[in-house]
Amino acid sequence: MSYPKECVLKDCEEVVIRPLEDGDETLLTDFFETIHENDRWCMRYDTTKPSTIKRWFDNLGSDSVFSIVTLCNDVIVGHGSLHTREFGATKHVGRFRIIVLPEFRNKRLGTWILLDLVRTAMDKGLEALRADLIAGMEDAAIEALRKFDFFKRAELKDYAVDPQGERHDMYIMVKRLHKGWSDF
């Protein structure tokens, strides 16, 4: 796919989507520092640790992770990553994560990032995309994915805990990617 991609958000703010690249480390660190604890809690890794960010950059260009960032006036305002396995029973399934600065939510930025990841997944020949989301903490994301033809494949009751120790259900949301004929 050709990058950078120019997008205009609902409020006419202009952003650019491009792959994460060497030299973005400070920008990405700054980005995650502004993300609320509850949002970071839902991620698999502690993004406030320099070692986490460093590992991402060490893995730049690997086949198993594809990261994109969205910039507005040279500041990262959104991040998306697609994770794939090179071997095994679920190598046809991609997992992804999207996180957007609070002030850039509800402006379709998440949608543009998701669309880019879906296209990347299709280019990689994946058959499905999966996202694990926590009910009560990520309801907006769950609703957004439903609009993108993701469906709730499974529900794990009281599986996740929030920072206060409260239990939440976890939804496994899946979207099938069609290689040939569209289901339109």
Partner: protein
């Protein structure tokens, strides 16, 4: 004939040599000329695909409108085996809002199945964009995956999409984002545009905002 933007189309012809004989590619074909050719029977219904144009009369109707560029590929026997149409967007379409005559849509490009992979589509494209006012316009195309002949091409939607990008990019088209609802229906759909070199900055911005349905 003078077009909406005041230019006079000049008809061009190129000869494409193939193993099965020479193919004539002709631009700005008018209705009378189209009427004189046969229309290949492969432009029709197939098991998983239906051509966008199944009758040459559809091409004739396009050719009647001023400024529309109907490009034909004609085999040695005088049969249309490929065609392309560059047309103005209809009034009411989103892309008309930039002003009459500013944008033109690459409405269709098709080569019948047995002539594919012979360079016919690329030759049609050469004449679709080969005229003197192309740099004063924004040309665009929308690719809806449900109109693609995946069966005949034996490609996945993504591979077909890439093939289209490879066909149009050499002619200055680039993939652009838009929130146009029909295009957003499927991630494999594609929107591409070629912004003419003489398009002023303010119009480029208007086009950008139009793509996202906003007006600052």
């Amino acid at each position: 004939m003078i077009s909406k933007s005041g230019w006079s189309p000049i008809q061009h012809e190129i000869i494409l040599s193939t193993n099965a004989g020479n193919i004539r590619i002709r631009s700005f074909c008018r209705a009378g000329e189209i009427h004189g050719y046969a229309f290949d029977g492969e432009f029709g219904r197939h098991a998983q695909y239906r051509s966008l144009y199944t009758k040459k009369e559809s091409l004739e109707q396009d050719a009647v409108r001023e400024g529309v560029n109907v490009v034909l590929a004609i085999d040695p026997g005088g049969t249309i085996i490929g065609f392309g149409v560059l047309d103005y967007p209809e009034e009411g379409a989103r892309w008309f809002d930039l002003g009459a005559g500013v944008m033109m849509e690459l409405k269709v490009i098709e080569v019948c199945r047995r002539w594919r992979s012979a360079g016919v589509a690329a030759a049609i494209m050469n004449l679709m964009v080969a005229h003197e006012t192309v740099d004063d316009m924004i040309l665009y195309l929308v690719g809806y995956s449900w109109t693609w002949d995946l069966d005949g091409a034996e490609k996945t939607a993504q591979a077909y999409r890439k093939m289209l990008i490879d066909l149009f990019e050499p002619h200055g088209f680039q993939e652009l984002q838009t929130n146009e609802p029909n295009i957003c229906l499927k991630p494999e759909n594609i929107f591409m545009a070629r912004i003419g070199e003489r398009i002023p900055e303010d119009m480029r911005n208007q086009f950008k905002w139009l793509r996202f349905g906003v007006s600052p």
